[in-house]
């Protein structure tokens, strides 16, 4: 598979994403500078974590107008698989590829620690390798991860199983105490209605190999690859 990792000025998890796809999972990775306007031959795109444009104005506010984002939007609209991690999630929200917005963490602190997240929907292209209800331990590192959306949108997302990951206790209970940042409905990750764009605040690329002591995050990337392989098979089976 050919995975594109977008590099904005201020991205700092781009090489971790490249490392996981290339060195851990043996895929071809193309680093895409934010000035690019054409994306050809890619199977999936990752918007990595970091502090694009210094988080000026709002997280992701300026990155959404980067030249590359036009091509990312086209790619997403044509059904291409897009994963946004942390700042990448914030950019997807600002760009309108996912509903809602991020507020400052309720505690006002920048929080960097392992958290537990529950896989609420294991039937997505990003979680297919997980069990339904499985608890993953993945680190978060953000100051603006307090997800908000209006009640109508929230209800629609709940009805469509678009809330894919929720903060929980280590044994899988979704409680207010397990919510690190005040996020609405304990939301840690959501998917669009079409099922091809996922945003998540936790960093799976930081825990995707055993040598790091935790490889829970690898399941997200494996799910994407499995789904892409399945899609290719389906495409081949379709009559010309």
């Amino acid at each position: 598979m050919k995975i594109g990792v977008v590099v904005f000025p201020g991205s700092n998890c781009d090489h971790d994403c490249q490392h996981v796809f290339k060195d851990v999972l043996g895929q071809y990775v193309e680093m895409i500078w934010h000035k690019e306007t054409l994306l050809a031959g890619l199977d999936a795109i990752v918007l990595p974590g970091g502090f694009s444009y210094g988080d000026y104005l709002r997280t992701g506010a300026i990155a959404q107008f980067s030249p590359v984002m036009g091509a990312v939007k086209e790619f997403a609209k044509s059904g291409g698989m897009v994963l946004g991690i942390c700042n990448g999630f914030q950019i997807l929200l600002e760009a309108g590829l996912l509903p809602g917005a991020m507020l400052r963490n309720k505690s006002l602190h920048f929080i960097c620690k392992d958290v537990s997240v529950k896989v609420e929907n294991a039937a997505t292209a990003f979680t297919g390798a997980c069990e339904s209800g499985q608890v993953l331990k993945i680190p978060i590192a953000h100051a603006d991860g307090n997800y908000y959306t209006d009640p109508v949108t929230l209800a629609a997302m709940q009805a469509n199983a678009q809330i894919v990951l929720r903060y929980c206790t280590p044994n899988g209970k979704v409680t207010p105490e397990a919510n690190p940042n005040g996020s609405l409905d304990n939301i840690a990750g959501i998917i669009n209605a079409e099922g091809n764009v996922l945003g998540m605040m936790p960093h799976p690329e930081r825990c995707a190999e055993e040598v790091l002591g935790n490889d829970d995050g690898k399941l997200i990337f494996l799910s994407m690859l499995e789904s892409l392989k399945g899609n290719k098979k389906q495409l081949k089976m379709m009559p010309a």
Partner: protein, 79 residues
Amino acid sequence: MKAKIHVTLKQGILDPQGKAIEHALDSLGFKNTSNVRVGKYMEVDVNETDKAKADAAVKAMCEKLLANTIVEEYRYELQ
């Protein structure tokens, strides 16, 4: 013309910074304060002499970039 733009979180949306400042004011003895809201203030020179055109431009830039209208509201004055 100069646009003076204020962007704040919408009423009803938790403003953690405002809350922290509210607590600080309270502990400093300012017992008659409440509902502190923190926002952003921006000044933009708009190269227009026609007020209606400048107004339309500022409104468009607020909607498109300066405010995230899902969680924020904006107001401005033109001078």
